[in-house]
């Protein structure tokens, strides 16, 4: 079992085993010195004030409101919160680890032949490395205007084909070099083609490209799991807060048969 999962399990088990006796003891201590009020309701004024904040406390930390209301089920909320936070952290770390791994693969295998520096690209760049064996050259002939790659099996070559198809009447018949159609096609290419410092080739390294693709999949899966854990945390926060509100509405601020929970206010509307 991965280390992160063990960490989650141990923490949840510790919380469940240790928290309950401690809180029960505190509750005993808290009620030991309580004197009945003139109304005979039995709860000190400070207790009512604490209970009023239970929904907000639960919204911030699930279970905190239930603890303020002396409900044992705070453990369940707290445990679920702990699990979801840890799971999110684990999966987010895993997503980053896999991301660094596929970037390293790209740098050390596909890009290693092209220059000493390998700047980090955008996500679209790494995505294109999944789909295309080679980026192709940016400029076939050094000097003067850019001469796009003509090899349509490469990313740059395909980009140039798209540019010509989009802006030329006949993609196989070049208009005059200074014409508007030619300039638009070149600008399209310049905006999208892979520059020399980002050039790549997986030729004779298809096994490594396959590993690269699978590493990206793992990174995506971990990202998805992290987001799912965050969704669980969101639901837990809401459920705990709603639980606290319902408790206050049913039991009142002072517990038992106390007054209900209400917000009163008015707006200066004629």
């Amino acid at each position: 079992m991965p280390r992160g999962v063990w960490r989650s399990v141990m923490l949840v088990a510790c919380l469940a085993a240790c928290a309950h006796p401690a809180w029960a003891q505190q509750r005993t201590l808290a009620t030991a010195g309580v004197a009945p009020t003139e109304s005979g309701r039995g709860a000190p004024l400070g207790e009512a004030e604490r209970r009023r904040w239970a929904p907000v406390a639960s919204l911030i930390l699930p279970g905190a409101g239930q603890a303020l209301l002396h409900q044992d089920r705070f453990i369940a909320y707290l445990a679920l919160e702990a699990w979801s936070v840890l799971e999110f952290a684990n999966q987010r770390t895993e997503a980053r680890r896999q991301r660094n791994r596929y970037r390293t693969l790209a740098r050390d295998v596909a890009r290693s032949l092209y220059g000493p520096t390998h700047p980090v690209g955008t996500w679209e760049y790494y995505e294109n490395m999944e789909k295309y064996l080679e980026s192709g050259v940016f400029d076939r002939l050094q000097g003067g205007e850019v001469d796009p790659d003509l090899d349509e099996s490469t990313y740059n070559g395909l980009t140039w084909l798209r540019a010509r198809t989009t802006y030329w009447v006949d993609p196989n018949v070049a208009p005059p070099i200074g014409s508007a159609e030619y300039r638009r096609a070149i600008n399209f290419y310049l905006d999208r083609a892979v520059r020399p410092e980002y050039r790549w080739s997986w030729r004779n390294a298809q096994l490594e490209q396959d590993l690269y693709i699978r590493t990206i999949r793992r990174s995506n899966m971990a990202g998805r799991e992290a987001r799912a854990a965050l969704g669980v945390a969101l639901a837990n926060h809401l459920l705990s807060a709603v639980d606290a509100v319902i408790t206050l509405r049913v039991e009142g601020l002072e517990g038992g048969n106390g007054r209900g929970f209400a917000v009163r206010g008015s707006l200066p509307i004629p």
């Binding site: 990202g223 998805r224 809401l238």
Partner: protein
């Protein structure tokens, strides 16, 4: 055999692209676009498609509405004063999707009011074919599960919150080896408050935040799309003069501003509802924008004992341009 497989793959690939394109077209069409036009970069745009004939007939002004189960998809505070249980079936039909929603509202006494809903958008099956004919189907769909809690806070204030789980999926039946099916889910919430004055016209105000949540990841984590979060603020009131002039009649109007959280793309919604003897309801409204279900709308409602039926039609948006105005039908039972 190899040639037949490659033809099947080609047909599957083309059909998959068509289905994904249909899903994207639906989600893009559902968003109220700027007057100048433009594409949305938000995900799960089906969340913006309105639910409920009463809502649509009233111009989708939901901030102050107390529309029963329809408030689960509007301002969740709208069910806070519910005193009767409700089960409702909401059906919608547009040129790109059929929507079905089953919803339940359950008043729980002092505890408050609970609501539960399940929504399915079916974009239609796309056939997978090979040289011999149809071999399977692609099934693009969107699913939303929602749970709402609302309560009154004193006599004037109502508040509510909805947690929703939204899913966008592409399923396949038959030989689907090369079809990239997906199942993308995310979580979000709606929160709203309503304030009711004690004026003669029962002026009320509403504020809500909708579709606040986590990004929707369909494939790559880096290309996850944010949810279409919206801020909505509105007012509504009765017109007492109508009740005085026509006994048994009640006219209610509402107006609302809808905006993204960046507050740079406001849309206006206006609505009115005339009720007669609490049995017949006539509705009209207008939702600005250029997306699906925008434009003028009318609605009709009948109440007979515990049963009510509402109908609405919109005369704008993508579906109307395609000759199939969006139609909404709601069946409701109270007890």
């Amino acid at each position: 055999m190899r040639r037949r497989r490659s033809k099947v793959r080609g047909a599957l690939s083309a059909a998959r692209q068509a289905a994904v394109g249909a899903v994207l077209a639906v989600t893009a069409a559902a968003l109220p676009l700027r007057a100048q036009g433009g594409l949305s970069t938000e995900g799960a745009l089906f969340l913006l498609v309105p639910v409920g004939a009463r809502t649509v007939g009233s111009g989708q002004a939901t901030a102050t509405a107390e529309s029963g189960s329809e408030s689960l998809w509007g301002n969740p505070a709208g069910i806070a004063r519910a005193t009767r249980r409700e089960v409702a079936l909401h059906y919608s039909r547009t040129v790109v999707a059929n929507g079905t929603v089953l919803a339940l509202v359950y008043p729980a006494g002092k505890a408050g009011v609970l609501g539960f809903g399940a929504q399915l958008y079916d974009y239609g099956a796309q056939e997978l074919t090979d040289v011999d004919g149809t071999v399977g189907e692609l099934l693009p769909r969107s699913v939303v599960l929602a749970a709402t809690y609302a309560a009154t806070l004193g006599t004037s204030v109502r508040a509510g919150v909805t947690y929703k789980r939204a899913q966008s999926r592409l399923d396949c039946t038959g030989p689907c080896g090369s079809v990239a099916t997906f199942n993308a889910s995310t979580s979000g919430l709606d929160a709203g408050v309503q304030y009711q004055t004690t004026r003669a016209d029962s002026l009320s105000m509403g504020l809500m935040l909708r579709h606040l949540g986590l990004k929707l990841q369909v494939n790559d984590d880096a290309q996850s799309d944010p949810l279409p979060t919206r801020v909505q603020i509105g007012v509504g009131a009765r017109v007492p003069a109508v009740a005085k002039a026509l006994p048994g009649a009640e006219l209610h109007w509402s107006a609302e501003l809808v905006n993204r959280t960046s507050l740079d793309d406001p849309a206006v919604r206006l609505g009115a509802e005339l009720g007669l003897q609490k049995q017949l309801y006539l509705r009209a409204g207008y939702a600005s924008g250029t997306g699906e279900a925008t434009g003028p709308a009318i609605g009709l409602g009948f109440v007979r004992g515990a049963l009510s039926i509402d109908f609405a039609r919109v005369f704008g948006g993508f579906s109307s341009d395609a000759g199939q105005p969006p139609t909404f039908l709601t069946l409701r039972v109270h007890w």
